[in-house]
Symmetry: C2
Subunit: 686 residues, 2 copies
């Protein structure tokens, strides 16, 4: 039997678990009439966003497909794989969003019974997303494998599957990120600040959009982002099989293709088990709640490591490949831990921001910014450590396999992430429908936990994206022929041309490093534009709909969602085009060596900026929560006002600009990889 | 005659102009008794800072000198050149500070007569600094040249002169940067915010320290920073003479040494002329004032270009070297223009921040941060353009010569910078001594102008530092033997080992890129620590000195200066040690190739972060000034309060963290260059 069937079995088991969790969630009490109504409005808005996003996507997919079909070097299989990748990612996004927006009201109802009940419904709602992503991801690659693995062009075709996923991730993460913060800031500014009404007040036409945004950004966006990273990491490892074969680390190409696929399969099995062990008692205690989720991820990590060891042993591959994979797995877990240190208010950095807030908002900003910058070092050192170890044990292939290791437990880590917006929504619904205080207390606890897991999830996502981009850059280098495997070692084809100190490479690095700050500036501007559109619409409704402020009539929630969707999709255009066009220009004008430098420069600066923005934003958010918990004068104090400024400033950094960088890095690398056949014969115009 | 004597003549002419300007300033009216008193207090504080700083410096110099004498590869000449470089920089710093603190009171008195009079005194005070720096700089190198240029070790000895200057710059820029913002923030927080008394109120014991800080940071710090860049750029070009000779671009080593020296000499002459053409009429008009200063720099730039053309033509060198030099000169001027676009409130970016402030401080921060990130692109593209052109025309040597071109007019550009703190001080003295409103209006206009020139100066300083660091990295590559000149072209000694995609280089790049954010976080923390020390002391004086708040007794200004000095010098220790130790560790543990990657990674991220921090800070500052000029509700409005938050947050970014990065980049490159003899035989422990 071809062992690749094991991956098929894992994918099917994953779907089995998805079916089980779906039935579980749907069997829960839907809550009161009011809860059902609000939940339905959010679901409707979320689906409306998805519909419009997928419409825009469809246009772009058709255009790109035509281009792919026209370029003779690529062939029709590439176009098919591309469309297939996009459809898989869209399917996973739809499934996750559908479940998350059904689980929110039920979590609210379950929290009325007990905390454990609430946690379980929310987490299982998230688990549907996590396991759907990995199951679709692995089955998609397997299908392409069985279709074409005997074809000599196989390794040139499968990257297109990842590119399709990239495109969806671009829309999901960048468009979704702009939507979510535009809606959030718009709703707050026009409601809390301007009209002086509380957050989640049903008279504010933007509140549904705000809740929709949580799903759009943290479920669909995060899901599409990690779907892409997940499949890309597997694909990058497969395309680097030439390294393993050349260096004699693991037999033949088939074995080199099996290793990442079987490790991913083992990771799915481990994730399913991890999802089942998440539960907690009745005490509302952050430590215990966090412990409950951590039990799931730790269990899955240990199991995956054991599976990977057995797989590599059984396949007769070098045991070094196990260490390479383990290095990635451990680095991923530790990046999560370090993020939690820098952004959770149980530790010094975030407490320091809260303390500084007593001296005013200026100090809040300075302190938070320092924390963000400081938080870069463990992230970089962990990634560097993983690269050193993975490279030592498995060369380029090892680095790519490290990324697979880091992402192998994605099923459960993504469940932990997607849990967040479900809990957040449940909290919103609780307020909007006026539930008793003990229910709000429970959903608040679940929501707080969601903030921490969101920060850790972001750290994990950028770490994986960086490692994965490096793998893609190495694939690019081989595909474009500037690096070859000969005589058991890796050689630079033209010594000197890829030298760090040659002018094209150096210039490429500088230009690449320029991309992340400009991209961030553009996405943050996009949020501002979307915010303005929302504010104008809410004001209009207050002005034109009689009785709205008195609560006798209802605002047009859907209209705000629609306006926000249009604004976000329009605003994502400029940064996206830049990310797509820049590598093409660099490749064509400055040549393939400069493009390698460009990609490295972008990954390095992008990784650092993303960690900085995510963690500064997360720390500001939690410093505010720490003060709201009664420290430094509590809610309403001057320190609280200062902390709110930090939180507001940090929001688009951590929820739009930072996460969008993941997409930019991967997208640019993928485009370079696709350009490779064109650039091979080419060293630039200059 | 050896043409090098022309440089001696230029240096002497520079001193002649310094003497003339000094006499001019000292001949001016010292102002009223009260003005003289405040000015004396500032001078005393500034000199006290310098004394203590130089004491600490002396200890470090002795230690390093002993180390240099002990390492057998280096020899005693290196130690002598090192001490000589440090002494030259200290001398220039002392002279500049002495003059700036004598010009401040006289500017205040001159502004009582007319604006032009005020501008002239302040600018000529600054010109003493500018011309002293370049004159001492060039004469120092010339002396070493005449002493040892026949010695085969000459090219290994002169970098030590630059290293001595580096060390002084480290103390001046980092220590001074921490002092200036610590004093500023401390004085504001304890005075304006806590006690509710106006800025520059004489009852606040920290006001003198605040005014001392302007001199310490923007005169001594900026001067030492640019003294270093100036001499380093000349030295880097000279050490790369091997490239010119190897490639046959410009005859022999002697010619290759003469070119940067004579261009620098021409630049000094041009700067002297430029300093004399600065004057303005009576209208208080920002455009005209800026035009007056710009006339000086533009005149000098054009003259320098003409001189350079003649020099290169006369020396029979390739005319390409003229284009290389011109590329740097033009890039420097344009970086200044772009900085002014992003940070001056006459243009859209800063106006946008002021507008966003109407929606609260969160929006101010987001908008300013976006502006900072966006401002990176012209800076990077200009530097990239200069590198491409300079490299095309003169290879590595051309790149270094581009830096010389950029810095050739330093005499007048630094005069423009050093003018700022003189005007700022004059404004402070005007308030502290209760001058009539029309005087304050004039000094305010001069001060505003100083803010703009400070921002442009910073852009210029980081651009020059980045270009210069690249030159030093290339010198390092040649010194350590990973790049050689053979057969008329540049070759990588070990093809593949310096490949961008080899693990050590890639890891080096990542680690290097990590340095700037961590360094910035540390320096910003240092500011916070110093601020706290000052606040505690001012509170103590209010508590313990009777009659202080009633104005019947005086605070102990000197004590605050002293405490601030000690705190700043202690706080600069950790970041400085990190910047010194990190390249040593990378070189020894990961080897010479990784170290090259490390330096490139640091320069790229450091350049981008510095531009971002400087420009965001400058834009926030001027957005506040724009609102204070009556826009968006003017002073006291909610928009103004939000803008103040931006200004406060931006201060340590633009005056401490950003400028300190210049030093870090150069210092790490210089240390690598000094380590080169040790690392040659060595590829790392791992």
């Amino acid at each position: 039997m071809n062992l690749m069937w094991l991956s098929v079995i894992a994918g099917i088991l994953g779907f089995g678990a998805v079916a089980y969790f779906t039935r579980y969630v749907l069997a829960q009490d839907e809550g009161s009439e009011a809860v059902r109504e609000v939940s339905a409005a959010i679901r409707e808005g979320a689906m409306a966003f998805l519909r419009r996003e997928y419409q825009s996507l469809a246009v772009v997919i058709v255009i790109i497909t035509i281009i792919l079909l026209v370029v003779p070097e690529l062939g029709w299989r590439v176009a098919v794989a591309f469309v297939f990748g996009a459809l898989c990612s869209m399917g996973a996004g739809f499934a996750g969003m559908n479940m998350a927006t059904r689980a929110n009201g039920r979590t609210c109802a379950a929290a009325a019974h007990s905390l454990d009940q609430g946690l379980r419904v929310a987490f299982r709602g998230g688990a549907v997303m996590g396991l759907t992503v990995v199951s679709i991801g692995i089955l998609g690659v397997v299908i392409l494998y069985f279709l074409w693995h005997d074809d000599p062009a196989f390794l040139a075709v499968i990257p297109a599957y990842g590119t399709g996923a990239s495109l969806v991730a671009l829309f999901g993460r960048v468009g979704g990120g702009i939507f979510t913060k535009g809606a959030d800031a718009g709703s707050d500014l026009v409601g809390k600040v301007e009209a002086g009404i509380p957050e989640d007040d049903p008279r504010n036409a933007a509140v549904v959009a705000d809740n929709v945004g949580d799903n759009v950004g943290d479920v669909a966006g995060m899901g599409a982002d990690l779907f892409e990273t997940y499949v890309q990491s597997i694909i990058a490892t497969m395309t680097l099989s030439v390294v393993v074969v050349g260096l004699g680390i693991a037999g033949d190409h088939e074995t080199a293709w099996l290793i990442p696929m079987l490790i991913a399969a083992g990771g799915i099995l481990a994730s399913i088990i991890g999802c089942f062990v998440v539960r907690v008692g009745e005490t509302v205690d952050m430590g215990k709640l966090l412990g409950a989720l951590r039990r799931g991820t730790v269990t899955a990590s240990i199991l995956t490591a054991i599976f990977a060891f057995l797989i590599i042993h059984f396949l007769d591959a070098s045991i070094g490949l196990f260490w390479a994979m383990l290095a990635g797995l451990i680095a991923g877990v530790l990046i999560g831990e370090s993020t939690s240190y820098f952004t959770s208010y149980e530790f010094k950095p975030t407490k320091g921001i809260a303390e500084a807030s007593a001296s005013g908002a200026g100090a809040t900003i300075i302190q938070g910014f320092s924390v963000g910058m400081m938080s870069v070092w463990p992230a970089v050192l962990l990634i560097v450590g993983a690269i050193i170890a993975a490279f030592y044990f498995g060369s380029f292939y090892g680095v790519a396999l490290g990324a697979v290791g880091m992402l192998s437990t994605l099923g459960v880590t993504l469940a932990t992430d997607a849990y967040g917006p479900v809990a957040d929504n449940a909290g919103g619904i609780t307020t909007m429908t006026g539930q008793p205080p003990e229910v709000r207390e429970r959903t608040d606890a679940l929501d707080s936990l969601g903030n921490t897991t969101a920060a850790t999830g972001k750290g994990f996502a950028i770490g994986a994206a960086a490692l994965n981009s490096l793998g893609l850059i190495l694939s690019y280098a081989i595909a474009v022929g500037i690096v070859t495997i000969a005589g058991g070692s890796i050689q630079t084809t033209d010594p000197g041309a890829l030298s760090l100190l040659s002018a094209p490479v150096l210039i490429g690095v500088l230009l690449g490093a320029l991309m992340p700050p400009v991209f961030c500036a553009m996405t943050m501007q996009s949020v501002a534009i979307t915010t303005e559109a929302i504010i104008a619409e809410v004001r209009r409704q207050w002005r034109e709909i009689p009785g709205l402020m008195q609560g006798t009539s209802k605002p047009q929630y859907g209209l705000v969602v629609d306006i926000c969707t249009k604004a976000a999709l329009r605003a994502m255009l400029a940064p996206s085009i830049m990310a797509i066009v820049a590598p093409v220009i660099v490749g064509v004008v400055l040549g393939k060596y400069a493009l390698a430098g460009f990609l490295v420069g972008a990954v390095v600066t992008g990784f650092i900026m993303a960690v900085m923005l995510n963690n500064a934003g997360g720390a500001w958010d939690n410093a505010k929560k720490f003060i709201e918990a009664g420290m430094h004068g509590g809610k309403g104090s001057d320190a609280h006002k200062a902390a709110v400024v930090g939180d507001t400033a940090g929001d688009p950094m951590k929820d739009t600009a930072g996460p969008s960088l993941n997409i930019m890095l991967k997208l640019m690398s993928v485009i370079a990889l696709m350009l490779a056949p064109v650039l091979t014969q080419f060293t630039g115009i200059i």
